[in-house]
């Protein structure tokens, strides 16, 4: 049946949606979502950089296994990566691992594989003449990469990095499945407790994600426009 929507449940639980039981308990809700997204983003920035550079290595022994790994990760669902972490990490570390760490590791490995493609494209977008000129001035190949190519490439990669961050924010919702109390999990929790307002709760949660992601998507478009403009002058 069609029923009138009643958003009182959102107002009643607003702080719980935003920060969970913090400061009297662990951080949850939107705060935890942002924490997971930011930590995974920073880690996968470095992960993607390393994988991207290795995948362009001159040595086939390095290049091929790295590319195989990147393509394998890109070929399976994120959920699968998280499940792998969920039961591999404790086995490898020999002790139990907190769920949030499991999710961060899963998100980092998954996103690093995608970031590496951005890094790769960014580096390949810099004309070869730059590397040749750098090497002929006496720099070693790794110095040419680090001081000449990468700084120029990084600037072009920024919009894609921001887009990847948006994907990460959306992907943190999967933490729900291993029981981390981020925004989506808090939503299902409140839904289970109140029973009568699933429509209101999930519309609200979708709206929160939308505002956040749309802001960053717009920011990335603005950056893209600015970079194009800077190149044109």
């Amino acid at each position: 049946m069609e029923e009138a929507l009643n958003f009182q449940v959102i107002i009643d639980n607003f702080t719980y949606f935003m920060i969970g039981r913090y400061p009297n308990g662990p951080l949850g809700g939107l705060g935890l979502t942002m924490y997971l997204a930011v930590v995974s983003c920073v880690l996968s920035f470095f992960g993607g950089m390393i994988l991207g550079l290795l995948s362009l290595s001159r040595y086939a022994v390095i290049r091929h296994p790295v590319n195989l790994f990147i393509n394998a990760v890109r070929g399976i669902p994120l959920l699968m990566v998280i499940f792998w972490m969920y039961f591999l990490l404790p086995a490898l570390m020999g002790k139990t691992v907190p769920e949030a760490t499991t999710v961060i590791m899963g998100l980092t490995i998954f996103t690093s594989a995608y970031m590496s493609q951005i890094v790769r494209a960014g580096i390949q977008g810099i004309p070869k003449g730059q590397t040749e000129a750098a090497i002929s001035t006496g720099l070693k190949p790794w110095q040419a990469m680090l001081y000449i190519v990468l700084p120029q490439g990084l600037r072009n990669m920024i919009p894609s990095f921001v887009n990847q961050f948006v994907s990460l924010i959306k992907d943190t919702s999967l933490a729900f499945i291993v029981g981390v109390s981020e925004l989506t999990h808090v939503g299902t929790q409140i839904n289970n407790r109140t029973m009568a307002f699933p429509t209101e709760i999930f519309i609200f949660i979708a709206a929160v994600y939308f505002v956040l992601c749309f802001a960053f998507t717009s920011f990335s478009r603005w950056l893209e426009g600015r970079l194009a403009w800077r190149k044109s002058i």
């Binding site: 069609e2 070929g75 399976i76 669902p77 699968m80 499940f83 039961f87 919702s173 999930f202 939308f210």
Partner: protein, 234 residues
Amino acid sequence: MLKYTFDWSIVTSGKYFEWLVSGLKVTLELSVVGIVCAFILGLLIAVLKMSHYRPVRWIATAYLEFFRNTPLLVQIFFWYFGSYKVLPAAVNEWLNSTNFEFAAAAIALTIYTSAFIAEDIRSGILSIPKEQMEAARSAGFSYLRSMQYIILPQAVRITIPPLVNQFLNLAKNSSLAMSIGVMELTYQARQVESYTFKGFEAFTAATVVYLGLSVVITALMDLYNKKVLNPQRA
């Protein structure tokens, strides 16, 4: 360090093998239903987005931005738990008479994917030089007929590779349907793990199946690129 004996036989034959196969079947069903519906919906949104009327364009843009910028999992939960309050009674009745978990997942995947496909189709259409349209119109075709006979046949050829990519994304995204109890591949792998404690074998099997799917489809797409899109280069 680890004391673990591998037992691959559980995932290569017997009951658990059948679970995984049935899971793969559901994954493929979801993906195929999803991609067909998402293509139709995406085509519609792409056409709306290129409309001459500003309000129509605005609606299409809102649709695209909203569904691209919210997590798929939340969309699945919305359709599964929350849609009954906003859908007409007749639709609810029909949904309840079907396999509702599957239907909710299929609806969510369709709508989510259609937003991505619409952009692929739109850039496919925009990549056709506008002289084609002008020539068609001056040859006496109406706008719709020019689209039908001149623009779309060319645009679809270009759009097929990104569409295949979306199909692969859809197949991977369908793993989220396990959260509402659709018994697809990831769900079954999890199930095998909890029944046998052979998580390594179960997840390896599922991983191999997902990888196999993407390797086969990527190979087919390369063939298509070589044979159809750039035949002169072959």
